[in-house]
Symmetry: D2
């Protein structure tokens, strides 16, 4: 059994990790920390876990995280980078669901995240945890940077095109829509029910932190610079990312076949038949990305639709997928739940 | 492996049965019928099942249901009663998720359901499938009438009181709220998104078909006539039943203890601590009923709150729980998914 | 023109007051205060008001509220009672949308609101602003305590029964459901979209501040003590109150006629035909209460359904109705907007 | 007073027309027809109109529409074209909220709408009712083709760019999101609450009927052929269109100023300040289009955000705006309601 610790388990990625890990056949949850909620039963805060998780939240210093095989950070940005060194020294492997280790270029990271990076040497060795790209590096990684939700959907939807260079890499567009849980479980006005329900809006058009992450991933895949316009929107639903991706065709291909081939062996990517419109609910609560490829009116613009559940393939599920890879478990272990629909 | 057939799998209870049965370790799904959708892949209609269910819908006559161990009817009311005899003759056991066998009194059934009953002799032998009441009879039943969603929540919330006779049995009130999926997957105007969203209303106050079912169950539990005012409401959420139950106390008891004792051995009923307010999402997608008991201001009126997922403990999950009991499987087999929250 | 000031306009009752007052033909909005948002344009905070409200929020001390004819307090509880004396001394009339002046008994108020009352002498002269009960007193009131949202719907639904004494006044039940905007525009976790959407729950079953307010109103109407069980629920919609009210009949009446007669001259109360089920959206954004009266199966329990928009007839609209009465305007002036549905 | 008739008033554009016309100071509603609902009170079908509309639906032949000054068709596509000639002969002016007269090229219309056009000679004289483009032609039009909801938002968002030719007209992209009421009040499965809630999807990517309409409008504005990729999405909200529009800059301009100048005199178009993100709720229930212009990272791609309420500026409100223009009323008459938010 893999002995697991969770730092900062009071947000949505935390409770989703708990839901999935509690059903994982190869895992023991040793500790879950929260300074603010220490000594409170997890199930008192998250009644959906009553009967499944008997742990209390504990203070980080009482958690004995050093004895774990792996520690998940489900914390705000800026926490994992201050605690990683001590755990690594104790031989613990780390999966950070926040952004501390996602961007290789320290200067870029510091610009977008507005703080100094505390552990650039760890950052330089961290592996970006998109299994569909980095599976073998993840296997031996000491630190995995779990991708953001928008970057997961956007990269999976664009990778086959970018890797093969059949579209214009200077004018990609990602029009992305997120459920409100993507904004986290923070007491902020703009994500109140009465603000976000029956409403739709774009945000961060001038610049969103996921943009440099996506650009980095696509640039590595393309082996040249990639330019992307990235517009996120807030959608009145709890879970789900829908990425609508636009690319100008520069070389003819059988695009449907290209996608099917690229993901043929991927257990968690489903390329749908031609003319499909994947719905976010078709992956709700499951570790899946569904993709459809369109070429409207046979024109020059390709439209790719990609959906994930932001809390699963976009966060906790992908983190567990990474853990499975790191510890040589079946990659699907603990991740076989079917989507919940309706 | 239990060989299972499903009749009428295109509604919400049908797709939910498929979701749960596909993850059940002791089950093979042999056939799923739909006259209207014959020869269509189930996963084309329900993309959430892509990769999990490879069956096509088939015409009933092609389904070879007689070779199944058990057949679930996820059909409209009035279908199971016409097909049950043939299946029973072939040795098949039946679980009807519709209402054909729920009410013992044929005249009452015919009044509320507006048709003649086609199989009163089968009705007379059917077992009402509320495991918390009828577990031993279910074990040997040939036909199980799976309870309605409101009746499940309402009876589980009132049974401890009614069985012990500590409240006035002439003035019970069940103010119940249902998610819209409780109305089924029918193309009807009043359950359109633009009608049901951001809106709340009562319906069927003059009389709802679940009233005689609840009254029958409570009357049997009380061993005397029980009178109930039952007011259902339509709530702008997909899944979930919340029953708010009011009873006038006639004999002092430790009511919290009464409920905890009654359900101490029940795997799917969770009596919450005093002063709890169960949320419907705390049971979303899981086969669970959570209950809280209140006595506001120490007065004479007891308030019981009970929540279920109408598609799981209120339909497909309870049907599988019944199947597990009928076939001597672990009662929790295939029903261990944790609630999905948020 | 009536010169109006608003104290504390950054919550939902504040923005709703602004929406309605901006369309009121007899009103000039002189100032709107907010310490936190001073010098910000109202329309920058509430873009729905762009082009209609050109004011900035200002600090209270800069607002010259003493020069207004009437000041609305759309503040948290406990503010109006500290500022009322000064305004009254300047001849300004006051409409408090919070709870400071709603409960006559200071001890009861202090128990439920958890603070000392700062102006009991003003409280003793304040008029409870339910026009359907207190119209003539409102006309000359210096201070009007605008009723709470649950109390408005519950009292309007029960008054005809309580005033005539035809039901048991010791066992009334109010099962009430509120849209999330009823909880205000506060950054609190439990009213986040991802917490409140697709979910339903009761809250405050042990005791809610609207209980003593309702009990006071019904007791005055009955001219004897009234006992009420009051259970509020949080509903995944933005606006709307649905009160489902249960009363045991003690004297036969033509209950439909009783309600129609009681409200025959009320411009904002609509008694619907027998067997109606009022929907909350049928009053959305309008100053209306719709009521239906049911007697299921001709039994002893009467069921009354009452709906309002919590921000209009349950707050800002009723406040303007009170203002119209106080200043001898047409009672419907500025309140003729039709409900928005769907 | 303008005497108005409405043909087909049982859909969402019909009830919205009624809400707005009932508050219009210069209008008398003479008749509203519905074959299916004849002799039913409008307010029985739409309780939100109780007290405001006392009419019954009547059969078309009993409606005496010939005596009206103007008739609105709120019918499915294909109805107005069969009834227009008779009304025109009687001197009645026509505003069609359906698509019968939107596309000048009969062959294109027939291809996209899948039927033969019954009145090409009327089509050739109809005026496309986008006042911001065709105000003077609308003034004298006998038949106005009221634009579709997506075309209204998309054209208003792109017109300043297309008219001035400062962007690449071969690669425009319109990623549009609609509330569910845009699909009408039809009993269809895919717009059921349990299908559309908590879900997001694209649809019609291969081709949507609004594409040729938008292309026609932009081509006329550009005075050359315009190519557009148009991807509509279904959003879990009742009302609202959000168009996210992408254009490649070909000539430098002060784009903010360009938009402000273009719409400086338009009463129903609001160009927001730089860096704004218009929300759909900021125009809910009001006849408004709000627009924001972005140039992310100063790059080559311009992003325009445009929001409308699909039932108001996208349908009934714009129809009344057209009527006001046709009859020389104040253009804002009856359209001054403020948006309802939250």
């Amino acid at each position: 059994m893999i002995k697991v610790g969770i730092v900062g388990g009071t947000g949505y990625t935390g409770v989703e990790l708990l839901r999935l890990l509690a059903q994982h056949p190869n895992v023991t949850i040793a500790a879950i920390t929260s300074r603010g909620e220490a000594d409170i039963y997890v199930a008192d805060m998250f009644p959906s876990l009553r009967g499944a998780i008997s742990l209390k939240f504990c203070k980080p210093e009482a958690a004995e995280l050093e004895s774990c095989n792996v520690v998940f950070f489900a914390t705000p940005n800026g926490i994992a980078m201050t605690q990683a060194a001590r755990l690594l020294a104790a031989g613990v492997r780390i999966i950070d669901l926040a952004a501390d280790f996602r961007i290789r270029d320290v200067a870029v990271w510091e610009k977008w995240y507005g703080m100094n990076h505390q552990a650039p040497e760890i950052l330089s060795k961290a592996v970006y945890g998109l299994p569909e790209v980095n599976r073998s590096a993840i296997r031996t990684a000491r630190v995995v940077a779990n991708p953001g939700c928008f970057p997961t959907a956007t990269q999976l939807g664009l990778l086959p095109l970018v890797e093969t260079g059949c579209v214009d890499l200077d004018s990609l567009i990602a029009d992305t829509k997120s459920g409100v849980s993507g904004a986290g479980r923070k007491a902020e006005t703009h994500i109140l029910f009465s603000e976000a329900a029956d409403n739709f809006k774009a945000y961060g058009v001038a610049g969103h932190r996921h943009l440099p992450e996506i650009r980095q991933g696509l640039t590595e895949a393309a082996k040249r610079n990639v330019e992307l316009t990235f517009v996120p929107h807030l959608t009145p639903m709890i879970r789900g990312i829908h990425a609508t991706l636009y690319a100008r065709i520069t070389r003819e291909e059988d695009f449907q076949q290209l996608f099917e081939n690229r993901y043929a062996d991927e257990p968690f990517v489903d390329v749908m038949p031609p003319n499909s419109h994947p719905e976010t609910r078709s992956v709700r609560a499951a570790n899946l990305c569904r993709i459809a490829v369109h070429r409207p009116q046979g024109g020059r613009t390709l439209v790719v639709l990609a959906v994930i559940d932001n809390l699963v393939k976009g966060a906790a599920g992908q983190a567990i997928q990474n853990m499975n890879i790191m510890f040589n478990l079946e990659e699907c272990s603990g991740l076989t739940q079917l989507p919940v629909s309706p």
